[in-house]
Symmetry: C2
Subunit: 244 residues, 2 copies
Amino acid sequence: MDNREIDSCIEKNNVEIKEDTPMPKAYVSSAVIKRLPRYFRYLRELIRNGKMRISSSELSKIMKVSASQIRQDLNCFGGFGQQGYGYNVKYLYAKISEILGVNCNFRAIIVGAGNLGRALVRNPMFTKRGVYTVAMFDIDTRIVGNTVAGVSVHPLDELEDFCQRNFIDIAVLTLPKESAQEITERLVKAGVCGIWNYTGKELDIPNKDVKIVNVHLGDSLMTLCYELNQMRNSDRKKEKSKDN
Amino acid sequence: MDNREIDSCIEKNNVEIKEDTPMPKAYVSSAVIKRLPRYFRYLRELIRNGKMRISSSELSKIMKVSASQIRQDLNCFGGFGQQGYGYNVKYLYAKISEILGVNCNFRAIIVGAGNLGRALVRNPMFTKRGVYTVAMFDIDTRIVGNTVAGVSVHPLDELEDFCQRNFIDIAVLTLPKESAQEITERLVKAGVCGIWNYTGKELDIPNKDVKIVNVHLGDSLMTLCYELNQMRNSDRKKEKSKDN
DNA sequence: TAGATTGTTAATCGATTAACAATC
DNA sequence: TAGATTGTTAATCGATTAACAATC
């Protein structure tokens, strides 16, 4: 099954809808939310392989998490399975996509057309998740007007006007941390309600209706260095105890 | 205080060493480890601003975490503070740097010289955390020989030989997910013990002495979409209840 | 010494796992 | 109906917060 077919599973008509899904929880913990994209990916893979149904215990073996956790996680949003049968793969995929807003057609801009910004706009990740990258912005007049992966670079002073006219939902911040706070405030005023922040600066936003997700690559690298350092230290200890 | 001066705080001679630090814990939970890089960043900032000492409650206000958590976190690694005084900023910074392996001089290569690989190699993040990016690798002969941010692109078939000769610790995977598993196995055979994985493929490594940190940008984007979707849904509910 | 603040233990809270009744 | 597997409740485990004795 190819990508287009898998994508089409999200459209409701393609899967039989259960009518009496129980009321989902009012609040779902972030521990659960962070796991949803991983279910999304594995379900896509299962559809691709033509798998029609799956039980929590079978999925637990593939994903290396407990079957209990899978059932608990899914039940935060209502009953997606059927006793004695398991889960319909396409239906579950459609439901999780719905929860994650894959069919929301969110519109995004990338602020900062440097290396990272250009790398991201070329990444198929946005399209796969139903997010449209409609423009890039940069302060450097030399690159304004360029087109990267079909997306053109606009001058930074058109930022507010563009966001308002084009109903931008998400701004990806790939600019220097020094201007991150100021640009964020301008974006929020222009109606942007999601910030995907790569600047490393921790943003201050009074408006509770604006969501921020920080991607701190340096922090991630450091946890790897911690693990390696730990391993080195324990190796050294072993060496020592061998010597004595 | 400039960056070089801050970096020099890590060298032991620059801060008075407490002699009787209690024995640190044998195992520290990943919840704590993930917070360490953030302490590292804030402490750097404090040093930059010339702050000499800080109490857990003062730091808690700046970092927006509880003072209790700060003290618990730090005490996993031994007593870095002094009753009635608080923490010596430079000393604490030096200690956390040590724990995170900032002075280990880890050597890294970037496998895949596409957009993301080039964006990462140009990022000052590696240098700031004491990791050397010594080479890039790519399968595309047209870009082999190029130099990005002073780092040259090598042909992929020299991978094992290069890693062994140059004692490479870390490999950053910025190549297509299709070849991720195969390349990882080659890297592990060549003695690489840290994998920073951007491919989105979940890697299978039998060797327990190899550490993997996955960066899944798509998953991160989806959690933002979830939040926005939630907000939209609750807005709609409000609209409805207003209508009735 | 008195005041401040850590280090550490105990209490609480939340998340994961286990168990099983409901039911397809 | 019998077997399978969910949905859900209860038990366990781990992480966070609160409290306070130790001590600088």
